[in-house]
Amino acid sequence: MKKYFCSIFGILAILLLSACAPKMSTKLAEFPMMYEERPASILILPPINESTAADAKEYYSTTIQEPLAFAGYYTFPYPITSEILKMEGIYDTELLVNLPLSKFKEYFGADAVLFTTIKKWDLSYMIIASTLTVSIDCKLKSTTSNQILWKYTGTVVVDLSGGNAGGGLAGLIVKVIVAAVQSAAADYAPYARQANYRALTSMPYGKYHSEHNKDQQVQFVDQTPEANKTNK
């Protein structure tokens, strides 16, 4: 009987421990489609802006190309493709979300398109501290199967004053000490790029990266909230 209790206690302890540890997941387990389809080229669509900052869209768009290239993908030059899309009358990516994406294969030759949504782009001034919150939501969709190949949702909270302001638990908290607060406060782009590098840590590497097709078992902290997982 005592033994029985002991084992129950043991199992309980393990359960407790596993709940405490950050949930890890492998790239292959989370994004099997990436290894099946192996997209080589990515077309970055103009971001969907759901934040209150009207100019966030233009600024954010300049920060995605570089991190994606470093992840090993061929990225179509955004300044060109966004202009072509404008000429074709596509101003709002919102309208494309549920449409077949084969057009992008035909016109650009892109294997996948990247939808990005800026959820939050807030600069909040407080008496002793000011923080910048960048929340993004990314989805990489295949132009052949229309399926979601990879996705990420995340928040970066940047403490612009270097004080002791806390951050949300749900997102990643990055504290950056900025010496010149006033001049740096308005320039979000470096932080957005930082947010992008964070986001891309879970993305399997593309063909131009030396780790391409070797990173299936690489683990990363699964940050997707449980609630979001069910409504794919």
Partner: protein, 132 residues
């Protein structure tokens, strides 16, 4: 005092993490994203010129370091040339992009076509036989 140490440790960790995220060996991007950002912010001749110069720097620096020119860079410089009616140079750059990154061929062929038609029409206007 202990808190301070912890704080310093945390900052160092953050720096390491940030540095680890951006591999430096694959490509040389220089200030590309920053000048592009400045151009988006203030669209004028000055910021455009700076961005164009930065793209040229990325190309020369990449060659110096024996690195491939990053995706889209040749194409973007070609596009800027196309806009300033320098079709010949534009075509050369689009071809460079296409050779370096086969994924871009489809789009580059399109751009080369439009550069050629632009070249032809401007050639006719100036009645310059050499342009053909």
């Amino acid at each position: 005092m202990r808190k301070l140490y912890l704080g310093v440790f945390f900052i160092v960790l953050c720096c390491l993490a940030a540095a680890g995220c951006a591999p430096q060996k694959m490509y040389y991007f220089g200030n590309y994203s920053n000048t592009l950002y400045s151009f988006e912010k203030n669209q004028n001749g000055e910021s455009l010129l700076k961005h164009k110069q930065e793209i040229e720097t990325v190309i020369t620096e990449s060659e110096l370091r024996n690195l491939p020119v990053p995706p889209g860079i040749y194409a973007e410089l070609g596009y800027l040339n196309l806009k300033s009616n320098n079709s010949k140079e534009a075509i050369r750059l689009f071809q460079s992009e296409s050779q370096l990154y086969p994924e871009s061929r489809h789009l580059m062929d399109r751009l080369i076509q439009s550069a050629k038609s632009k070249n032809d029409s401007s050639a006719k206007e100036s009645a310059n036989e050499d342009m053909r």
